[in-house]
């Protein structure tokens, strides 16, 4: 919750070229009064210049010059809007074949995905890919927005056919049925986006916005066990705080409270939480996702990159790991390649031991591979210079993911999900 008591919902959007994704987002912004006069004026100006006889809301979100010229979105853009009850962050990601990387990036910070389908085209290869990524990243909730219903006479049969096709995909995924919601919309006309459509009386569900507002972030959070990676050691060395030695970081997966018996990794030293601080307040207990400072009852060796966990709830500690990798850089991942592996905030060196397979992103299985190119997803085995303390991505998003950094360019080249 923010200071006004509004909840925060983070959404990734995915659609193919011309599915009307930018229009849908533009429509959401317009209908929630999130577009300001000068932005609307800019849209009117641009729409007119291009000779459109309607307002092209997609212009509200298409950012960079090159994109405006081509009329397509080519990167992840973040868009913000709010209603009285909810703050929304939308990671707008493009739908081109070659941009898997962008959707993975956008989806990594989101707990809801909106997958757009053009009602005239139905479920296409792109849809498979978008849903596959939602599944891989364990997105908590998927909204399938079947768009351009105005172009198929608002036909229920068309809607049901697409839903039926999509359900076949759901059956192949890890999603439960209640994690998927289908909504027929027309972004251009504003039907079922924020306003209930008169043209589709057969649809009894919520509008898209109402549906997004019903979601509760707490339901979207993973329930796991607390993990506290130490980011920065705070030693004020002032008179008032002469002996203060606090461990700062973000708490993931669960709450921690004063008096909890904890273990510091990798040393394995045990201690007890003496105090929990947020700025100048001392608190008894901190909820998950808090950026806090912890002090321990005993002097134990603990520095950046170490992890404080509840004793008896230790993560796995391994020097050899297997992970699903998505390659996000044009330089391919190859056997024998050495990288800096960043797990949360902790860095170790990693070497690719084996590339087991490339995974088809259309749910059709795997194939052999000797390298993973940009936008490829595959299963890879690594050897590490030091053990990392992780949980399976399946049980903990925060403690089960890592990135690979190229040793030469320092670019982020891969993202990994530990099995």
């Amino acid at each position: 919750m923010d200071i006004q008591g509004r909840k925060l919902i983070k959404i990734a959007t995915a659609g193919s070229v011309d599915d009307g994704k930018s229009t849908l987002i533009g429509r959401l912004l317009y209908d929630t009064n999130s577009l300001t006069t000068d932005k609307i004026e800019a849209i009117e100006r641009s729409s007119k210049q291009r000779g459109y006889d309607y307002l092209d809301f997609s212009l509200a979100t298409d950012g960079l010059v090159a994109e405006r010229e081509q009329g397509i979105t080519i990167d992840v853009a973040h868009i913000y809007f709010n209603t009285d009850k909810t703050n929304f962050i939308v990671a707008d990601t493009p739908g081109h074949v070659e941009y898997t990387r962008n959707m993975v990036t956008g989806a990594s910070t989101s707990n809801v995905a909106i997958i757009l389908i053009d009602a005239r085209k139905g479920v296409i290869e792109q849809t498979y890919r978008h849903f596959f990524i939602s599944n891989l990243l364990r997105i908590s909730h998927v909204v399938v927005a079947i768009n351009k219903m105005d172009l198929v006479d608002y036909s229920e049969d068309v809607f049901l056919k697409i839903k039926h096709d999509f359900d076949a995909l759901v059956a192949k995924s890890d999603f439960r049925e209640d994690q998927i919601t289908f909504i027929p919309v027309s972004a251009l006309k504003g039907e079922n986006v924020t306003r209930k459509s008169d043209h589709m009386p057969w649809y009894v569900g919520n509008t898209l916005l109402d549906h997004l507002e019903v979601l509760e972030p707490s339901d979207l959070l993973e329930s796991s066990v607390p993990r506290f990676p130490v980011q920065y050691v705070i030693r004020p060395k002032t008179e008032a705080y002469h002996d203060f030695r606090g461990f700062s970081g973000m708490l993931y997966g669960g709450n921690l409270k004063v008096g909890d018996a904890v273990t510091v990794l990798p040393s394995g030293n045990e201690s007890t939480i003496k105090s929990i601080h947020f700025f100048d307040q001392e608190v008894e207990e901190a909820a998950t996702e808090s950026s806090i400072v912890i002090t321990l009852a005993t002097e134990v060796d603990c520095s950046r990159g170490d992890m404080i966990v509840k004793s008896g709830q230790l993560p796995q500690s391994e020097k050899a790991i297997s992970a699903t990798i998505c390659q996000v850089n044009s330089k391919a991942l190859k056997v024998g390649g050495k990288y800096i592996l960043q797990h949360g905030i902790n860095r170790v060196l990693a070497k690719v031991d084996q590339i087991e397979s490339r995974i088809h992103t259309d749910f059709t299985g795997i194939e052999e591979a000797d390298q993973l190119k940009l936008n490829d997803i595959g299963r890879v085995h690594f050897r590490l210079s030091k053990p990392i303390h992780f949980d399976s991505y399946h049980t903990s998003k925060s403690n089960g993911a890592f990135i690979l950094i190229d040793e030469g360019s320092y670019d982020t080249v891969s993202v990994g999900f530990i099995e």
């Binding site: 705070i234 970081g249 973000m250």
Partner: protein
């Protein structure tokens, strides 16, 4: 004491980012303009490192055309919090012949700041510059990363940005490169104002409605004084105005307002139909203005 601390997610994220900056870089600096966003950053940095002091200095690139209220505010804040402040002046860059003062109707020192900033980065060997830019401000900024790598010339290559996955920040750089860090990327203008109100953070007086000598041009309200070029026919009038952003006098337009308290300001922002950058004259120069300036190292 028997309480559970529930985080404000955007605040928690910003604190996380600030701690990553302090941990990953040798010589970070916080770019301080005296505006509400950089003031918010200072509060977040206090929270990130308390009870220790903020472990990096502030850098103010002074155009010489700042509102005097901003400078006074800056000096008070630094004194009160015991912060280290570095000031570098655009006037010096002009005197050294590195940049040339613009002339005429839209003359501004805003773009000249870039040179002074890059020189300061080189002088102090800063490897990370923390800024208060937000993605909701402008379309080109919507695609900016939290950690944005710049080359030796301070240039931003929008096609070659590192993807940012989850909350993992990659600040690895080569000698000569530096990183622009944006801890409040995900905040909106309203988020910032509501935060300032809730935290009761002091801000410069020009954010509140006051009487000021102004003149109207291109549908915008300009401050009338010796730094701002004015045609003889442009008539000066006294009006109740306030500023939504605090940049240079030459490129920051005022809005008519009666908002004299933070509550008033928040209420006004909620109802407002002009976006904050709509009052930035420098962005009106062209639709792609911000993007072009960013590519050459503007913040």
């Amino acid at each position: 004491m028997n309480n559970v601390f529930i985080p404000n997610p955007k605040e928690a994220e910003s604190i996380h980012i600030l701690r990553e900056v302090a941990a990953q870089f040798e010589r970070p600096v916080l770019l301080f303009s005296g505006g509400k966003d950089s003031i918010t950053l200072v509060r977040l940095a206090q929270k990130a490192f308390f009870p220790a002091k903020i472990p990096f200095p502030l850098l103010h690139v002074d155009t010489g055309h700042n509102f005097p209220e901003t400078i006074e505010f800056r000096d008070n804040l630094v004194k009160e919090l015991g912060l280290e402040l570095i000031v570098r002046n655009v006037q010096d860059s002009i005197d050294q012949g590195k940049v040339r003062e613009e002339r005429g109707r839209y003359a501004s020192r805003n773009t000249l700041q870039t040179t002074t900033l890059l020189d300061a980065i080189e002088e102090f060997k800063f490897d990370a510059c923390i800024g208060g830019a937000r993605r909701d401000e402008e379309k080109a900024r919507a695609k900016e990363r939290v950690f944005s790598v710049r080359d030796d010339f301070g240039q931003w290559d929008e096609k070659n940005q590192r993807p940012e996955l989850f909350d993992m920040l990659n600040g690895k750089i080569h000698v000569g490169q530096n990183v622009r860090c944006f801890p409040i990327s995900n905040w909106t203008e309203l988020d910032v104002w509501e935060y300032i109100r809730t935290e009761n953070i002091a801000i410069p007086s020009i954010y509140f409605a006051h009487k000021r000598e102004v003149f109207l041009r291109d549908g915008m309200i300009w401050t009338a004084n010796e730094h701002v070029f004015r045609e003889p026919h442009e008539e000066v009038v006294e009006k109740m105005v306030r500023f939504r952003t605090v940049g240079d006098m030459t490129c920051t337009a005022a809005v008519f307002s009666e908002a004299v308290s933070l509550d008033d300001v928040v209420a006004e922002i909620r109802l407002s139909t002009i976006s904050e950058r709509g009052a930035r004259i420098d962005d009106k120069r062209s639709e792609a203005a911000m993007e072009t300036r960013k590519k050459v190292g503007y913040f």
